[in-house]
Symmetry: C2
Subunit: 189 residues, 2 copies
């Protein structure tokens, strides 16, 4: 396929190039992927592997799936964009949810995600320190190894806050619906 | 890209081949597409054009975006699959929603779609006569001309009921958020 990329598409290329140096790469659940030294985040939906690259993971920034208008107003009011000058630490979290999750109706998924797991509320507490780009892979039209690629950046001073946040999220009911999770920590050097 | 297709992906190929003969092709809103004589519905995410084909439109069957568990139970209980032996009439409805729609929060979109427009309730009244396959294109990762491809099939005796249903849907508030709509009627001969 030679089609133009969706303007909301981004690709993470793992290998020996890119502005992000890999500090750690940890498989929490499911199959690992090849360990890499550096990661590049590039615009577009790219599957071709550059020389020295081990993998390319693609996703699309899409419309809100669960956020209410009140929550959205608070998010928009408080959040910062990724790529701030001081944000030299980041995490790339690769996630896949179970078939059981995707079979649930919309109200059931919303109830687990927010009323029971407080996913949005937990994230709000860490704004604007933790900035996020969430990409969806499940409906790309190709078989993809993950459903979501979460990229989050922050200053070295906020690294501990980031771990707090992630620890809270991982203890939720929502997290029992993930069957693959890889946590890659990054440093911009 | 040489990736394997998502198993939920389908492609409609418009040209001079395929099991469906085009009875009419009408542009209700936005740019038209090339008129074709026949349409094939094939599994997979295919963009390559076969000889004699004018266009290929791809989409992915995905998880419910608005349906509650009560609504889903009723749908599952009453709906029939597409492809029944007597269902020799069909419609392929190509739709794109406005940027304003996609900027709305989840609860706002749900309220317009169901509480104000009764999209799910209207569809339920025509089950099992009208069977549907809804494909999403917006998050394929490539620039696509439509957000949704709706394929609906029915017997000749239910053709009038189908027009009733579509007339009701087109009069709703939800329909004011479409900026492109093409209605292609099909006969299996």
């Amino acid at each position: 396929m030679s089609d133009a990329s969706n303007s909301r598409a981004f690709t993470f290329i793992g290998g020996d190039a890119g502005e992000w140096s890999v500090a750690s790469q940890r498989t929490l659940l499911g199959e690992p992927i090849a360990s890499v030294a550096r990661i590049a985040m590039v615009p577009g939906n790219r599957s071709e592997l550059l020389p020295g690259a081990a993998w390319a993971l693609r996703g699309v920034a899409t419309n809100d799936r669960y956020t209410t208008s009140a929550e959205k107003a608070e998010l928009v009011n408080r959040q910062a964009p990724i790529g701030r000058a001081g944000a030299t630490r980041a995490a790339l979290i690769l996630l896949r949810k179970t078939a059981a999750w995707w079979m649930l109706a919309q109200d059931q998924r919303r109830a687990i995600l927010e009323e029971q797991s407080h996913h949005i509320a937990i994230g709000l507490r860490y704004l604007p320190a933790i900035a996020r780009r969430l990409l969806h892979c499940r409906d790309l039209g190709t078989e993809e190894p993950f459903d979501f690629l979460g990229f989050l950046d922050y200053t070295p001073a906020d690294a501990e806050a980031f771990d707090d946040m992630l620890g809270q999220l991982r203890a939720t009911k929502e997290w029992t619906f993930f069957d693959r999770e890889i946590d890659i920590r990054l440093i911009k050097d």
